[in-house]
Amino acid sequence: MQSYDAIVIGAGHNGLVNATFLAKAGLKVLVVEKNDYIGGATVSRELHQDWKYSNCSYVCSLFRPEIYQALDLGRHGLEVVPLQGSVTFKQNGDYFGSYHQSPVRRREIERHSKRDADASIRFDADLMKWCRLIRSFLLTAPPDPGSLKIRNVMEFSYLLKKFHSLSESQIYEFIRFFTMSIAEYLEEYFESDVILAHFSGGSIIGTGLGVYSPGTAYVLLHHAMGDVDGNVGSWGFARGGMGAVSAAIASSFQAEDGKIRTDAEVDQILVKGGRAVGVALNGGEEIYANTIVSNLDAKRTFLKIMARNDLPENVVQRAENFKIRGSSGKVNIALDGLPNFPALPPRSPLTLGHIHFTDTLERLERAYDDWKDDSWSKDPYVDLVIPSQYDPTLAPPGKHMMSVFVQYCPVKPEGGWTDQKKDAFGASVINQISDYSPNFKDLLLHAEVRTPKEIEDEVGLTEGNIFQGELTLDQLMFNRPFPGYARYRGPVKGMYMCSSSTHPGGGVMGAPGTNSAREILADLKRRDTTPEDFGDD
């Protein structure tokens, strides 16, 4: 019987990141994964011969460069190529594009509203203020305002100091920003319908809230706080699909003698005498270690793979109440060629980035209404990208791979999901695309349709929630996943969390895995192998 110093449950990107930092400190680490492939939601699979899909997550920005550098991911094969441009098509045949070159971007805003072009300067600066503030908390455990331990007090005073660096009016604005809806927030800057719709998309992605729901302004920040090589808010494509991210981390992990076991689903975390001692796999096999790290979401961790009587009652209760609503679907498509969008002028660079078809806030809100009625949006908001325009590894020459993220899609439509309903959901997306691209349907070779059900069943994200828990103020910072457990330590000694259910939350960021490793290594009195924040100043 082999034993390990640490076992990480789930080979998603955070689990792999966590395991690598533990291994770098000299621990013998095993990662166990229920699927026969690694990556969790950071995955690329060949479901149609010669086409590689980024089945779940599909663009990269939030992954912290500190972690990238510390794990040497470039030498382990990772390349993140910045994507350029984005476009929202209008129903009247026009479009709004966001270009890479700033003078061109500005003139395009002017085309829709001269005033909005100037307002975007104010908007960009304001958003940067909040980005700068929030970014300084990504690579650190959230401060615990209730603790009087010296380290916690110091960290909390760091938080206060950061806030203190804001001016009085900035503090007011920041509180407003955190609690407002994205629609109301953007309406303080912009007047053009299509610009409002274009900028608000990022704040509903993955979220069971609508553009008029309070709290959505923050979600925009969550999508804007990343960067590609210092360009804050930019997104990139991982060459080879998102699976390349987990493959590079796994390679870095294996270079530290880390072991990965796939097809190894954990049935239970073993607890003896009040401390975690190992895991029992589905087949009955038991593997022992003094440190057990769960990369599953908080609900699965505490309600599925831990025995209720090993846990304090309030943890069970908190886990049951944890807000983790699924609201997104995904359609991954193999294409025989590049679809044509006649609204765009020839050689337009705008299809190189994000493509959207929702041109008003009202349509966004209506899409949300359908979801509240347990239905997929009849007129969905999609975030469509065609990464094969940059990446030759995803499809054969001249052919293309399209990734379509869809908001909203219910966890369980009335009567539950059937194949028929799944097809109808996929058709609603394909029809919307073909409304703007007449040759699109002729190019279709294969499509993978994923509702929250598939995302839950295959990836293991409860309800298919891509963030492993809603990114609302009540579940952020020292309240993520819930009060008292925000510093990655579970209620049982030797048991830890490293998933996106913990601070700073979802997205392919690597920060929860890193922060968790730092806390574990501190408890074990091992050398801290995690990187320091580069800092914005």
Binding site: D94, G97, Y99, Q101, P103, V104, R106, R107, E108, E110, R111, H112, S113, K114, R115, D116, A117, D118, A119, I121, R122, A125, M128, K129, R132, S165, L166, S167, S169, Q170, E187, E191, S192, P345, R347, S348, P349, D537
Partner: protein
């Protein structure tokens, strides 16, 4: 939101990253270096030929610069003056028609958004010129006022004609009344049958004028001026933004966005600056009943000043580019050089410097730590700074009326 502003639904040319101005055919022809830069989204020459020749065209003969990219807003309507007088810190309620005033705009916290010039074109009709995009701020500031605001940056072509022989050259070009113009005066006239507005304004600290016309007449205006050169009367040279940078620093003019962060673009709370801190206290009129930022500026006035943008002459000949400044050689760090040039007239390094005022007073011993290279080898030296409370360089011809012929 207030009503929508005019929209241009023509699809724009995304292949053209920087937009040509109406003078572009002539600018392009004259620009031998093809050393282009982005000014407000327009294709602008950094230098045309030789920087030294361009500089001395401004200081010794006559220079022409394409001013079109300067942000221009047309403001009129019953409340136009009321609007402007609330917008800026200076009292412009008495600004007469055909007169120009230099002003500064602050936000509610009394921090500088931009400096600007207000042209009172004719009774109740104004043009506001500024360095940065301000339409959004102007619209916000106009809430509740009966005023019309339109951006006209691309609808007005403008040339700066500056230098000792500028008046003589423009007279020969056909602007007969040029000599009547006093500093900050405006003249509406005709040139070869088209309308031109001439203002005795500029950013060089020298005798000079700015000429404004419709884009359709831009090339005619250009050609009328350069005809004077072709006839052999005066040398007239095109100048780029590099030469302008030299003369504006000599003349002590500030450049928002370069010398300090403008309030709208500042991300860090301590990067914003009040008019007092950038040396523009003289355009703040606290006696005015109300204006945007007044309460904050009244409060600030009561406390010792924290920092100032200083005109600093740095000894020696090593360029103090991006240099840190210290209280005493090797002393405490107290500031940074923001912009700097070598002045060919004064044979000195001139700089705009952001300097902390501990206890509200100006440090009396300011030193710059200068990194410079000789044949790719970097060295460090120290140079003492001297603060100038007045412009580094002035010349009586700038304000002489009538202007001399030089």
């Amino acid at each position: 939101m207030p009503p929508t502003i005019i929209q241009d639904i023509n699809q724009h040319n995304f292949h053209e990253v920087l937009r040509p101005t109406p003078f572009h055919p002539r600018v392009d022809h004259n620009c031998l270096t093809k050393n282009w830069m982005d000014w407000n989204g327009y294709l602008t020459a950094r230098t045309y030929d030789t920087l030294a020749a361009e500089y001395f065209a401004i200081r010794s003969s006559c220079s022409v610069m394409d001013l079109t990219p300067m942000g221009k807003y047309r403001i009129n309507g019953p409340d136009a003056n009321k609007f402007l007088n609330r917008l800026v810190t200076r009292d412009v309620s008495m600004l007469r028609p055909q007169r120009v005033s230099y002003v500064v705009m602050c936000n509610d916290e009394g921090k500088v958004l931009d400096d600007a010039t207000i042209f009172h074109l004719s009774e109740g009709d104004y043009r506001l010129c500024c360095q940065h995009h301000q339409l959004d701020w102007l619209m916000i500031s106009s809430l509740g006022m009966d005023v019309s605001i339109e951006e006209e940056t691309h609808d007005v072509a403008a040339l700066a004609v500056q230098g000792p022989t500028s008046a003589s050259a423009l007279k020969l070009a056909g602007i007969d009344e040029i000599e009547q113009l006093k500093p900050y005066d405006i003249l509406h006239t005709q040139l070869h049958g088209f309308e031109v507005m001439v203002s005795r304004t500029g950013y060089t600290g020298d005798l000079g004028y700015e000429l404004w016309t419709s884009p359709d007449n831009a090339l005619n205006l250009w050609d009328a001026i350069f005809e004077v050169k072709q006839k052999g009367f005066y040398d007239i040279r095109t100048i780029g933004l590099s030469a302008l940078e030299m003369v504006r620093i000599e003349a002590g003019f500030i450049l928002p966005g370069d010398d300090f962060n403008t309030a709208e673009t500042a991300i860090r709370a301590d990067r914003v600056r009040s008019p007092y801190e950038v040396g523009l206290g003289w355009v703040v009129n606290l006696d005015k009943p109300s204006f945007t930022g007044k309460r904050a500026l009244l409060d600030e006035k009561k406390k010792p000043i924290k920092r100032r943008l200083l005109r600093l002459e740095v000894s020696g000949n090593k360029a103090p580019q991006d240099s840190f400044l210290y209280a005493g050689k090797g002393g405490k760090r107290i500031g940074t050089i923001m912009t700097q040039i070598w002045s060919p007239i004064l044979k000195a390094n001139l700089a705009m410097a952001d300097v902390e005022f501990a206890g509200g007073s100006q440090p009396n011993d300011i030193w710059a730590e200068i990194y410079y290279q000789k044949e790719l080898e970097w060295r460090v030296s120290w140079a003492k700074g001297k603060v100038w409370n007045k412009p580094f360089w002035t010349h009586p011809r700038r304000s002489a009326s009538p202007p001399g012929s030089y």
